[in-house]
Amino acid sequence: MQDIAVTVRDFITENFFFGDGVEHFSNDDSFFEKGLVDSVGILTLVEFVREKYTITIEDEDILPENWDSVHRIASFVETKLGSRLVGKGDTNRGVYSAE
């Protein structure tokens, strides 16, 4: 999960902070409360995660509880990857670490 969080944070740093001021943003901070992510921002994030981890993201997955902080996204991705492995009869989540 830590690898996923690092990857997501890097993406947010580059695309929403444009490299500036990210040091005051924690991985548990709410994107919504910080005014960081609007409708285009969330679509951008969803596309990044979908392509990066090759996971299917249903409409009902795109809720604040899954997407409103770096850690929530990392947890969501980990769950998705885990359920895919379980589906294949393999519980070794480590093979899907981010990098």
Binding site: F32, G35, D38, P64
Partner: protein, 343 residues
């Protein structure tokens, strides 16, 4: 500005739609006085051009300008294109006849075609619906953001020539492409409004109501551009009150508000506000006046949670659309340009 309607609410009264009731005659007099001052003296123009959509906002704006400047100093422009509703042109003409003002019809379809508006829009939609093409119709919609906690994700609703309907979530790339292409419509209309304003030495009247203006429901340098905006401080239901007072034709007052931008019929509610406009009006008023969500729930029939989500949506739009209101940003203030201007 002396024409801002005063709230009917006191701290001890029960919150209800009565807070939006205005004295239409007094408000009209105030706006008419301001329009004369702005157009003739501040802008030093001879009259006003208004783009007419056949809706209540542009109709009330035109009626106010006519009262303020005289019917011989107002031009109503109807600017249809192949995807706009026939009612838009017809009702625009009903209005110009009722007001006795000059009317011009400018078909913007060929200009949009030349700019690639439709082609570029269709290419953007094909990123999520590859078979989208000739004979298809579409619109962009938002999910209901008030009934559940969700993000404002945009979807394209596309109808095939055989009537099959698809509802597909847009990617950021396709969404931005669709919006950028359809924005040609509002910007082309504004370009024509300024053409006629320039040749007549008129000013351009903008037509947003308070909901649209405050919540950023306009295209920058498109319908958001104008020399003055007579009803931008009025809630939608107050615009209707003025419409009745100004005797705007009943058919226009009864027409459901539409964006008139996409080839499938699209309400403002499904594209932007998620709530009926009269409810959104009350929520915006309440948010502006720090009314407790429980009081708004009682007045609107919404639950407290729904009102809280409506408040969150209002706040979010205020933040995300700030860019639309910003003038070009300068590196330093240029004092000699700004001296003597009211803003």
């Amino acid at each position: 500005m002396g024409c801002i309607p005063q709230s009917n609410m006191t701290t001890s009264s029960v919150f209800s739609s009565k807070v939006l009731e205005i004295d239409a005659e007094t408000v009209t007099q105030g706006i008419v006085k301001e329009i004369r001052e702005i157009v003739f003296h501040r802008l030093r123009r001879r009259g006003a051009v208004i783009g007419l959509s056949g809706g209540v906002d542009s109709s009330v704006t035109a009626a106010l300008c006519t009262r303020a400047l005289g019917k011989d100093r107002v031009l109503g422009l109807c600017m249809p294109e192949e995807e706009s509703s026939g009612d838009s042109l017809r009702l625009g003409r009903v209005l110009t006849a009722a007001l006795g003002i000059a009317e011009l019809i400018e078909n913007i379809g060929p200009a949009l075609e030349a700019l690639g508006c439709y082609r570029r829009r269709d290419e953007a939609i094909r990123k999520v619906i590859p078979e989208y093409g000739k004979g298809w119709k579409s619109k962009i919609v938002l999910p209901n953001l008030v009934d559940r906690s969700a993000y404002p994700l945009y979807y394209v609703v596309a109808q095939s020539p055989t009537g099959e309907t698809r509802h597909v979530r847009l990617t950021a790339d396709s969404y931005l492409g669709v919006v950028a292409a359809t924005n040609f419509k509002q910007r082309t209309r504004k370009m024509l409004e300024y053409y006629h304003a320039d040749r007549l030495h008129y000013a351009v009247a903008g037509t947003p109501n308070r909901l649209e203006y405050a919540q950023g429901f306009f295209v920058k340098n498109g319908d958001g551009s104008a020399d003055f905006k007579p009803i931008a401080h009025l809630y939608k239901s107050q615009v209707f009150q003025l419409g009745k007072y100004l005797q705007v034709p009943e058919e226009i007052l009864r027409r459901p508000p539409t964006t008139d931008t996409y080839s499938l019929e699209q309400s403002q509610e499904e594209f932007y506000f998620s709530l009926p406009l009269e409810t959104m009006d009350l929520c915006l008023y309440a948010r502006n006046h720090d009314v407790a969500a429980a009081d708004v729930a009682g007045a609107t029939g919404l639950s407290v949670e729904q009102v809280q989500r409506a408040y969150a949506m209002i706040d979010s739009k205020l933040t995300s659309t700030k860019y639309l209101h910003l003038p070009p940003q300068l590196m330093e203030k240029v004092d000699e340009v700004h001296v003597g201007f009211a803003g």
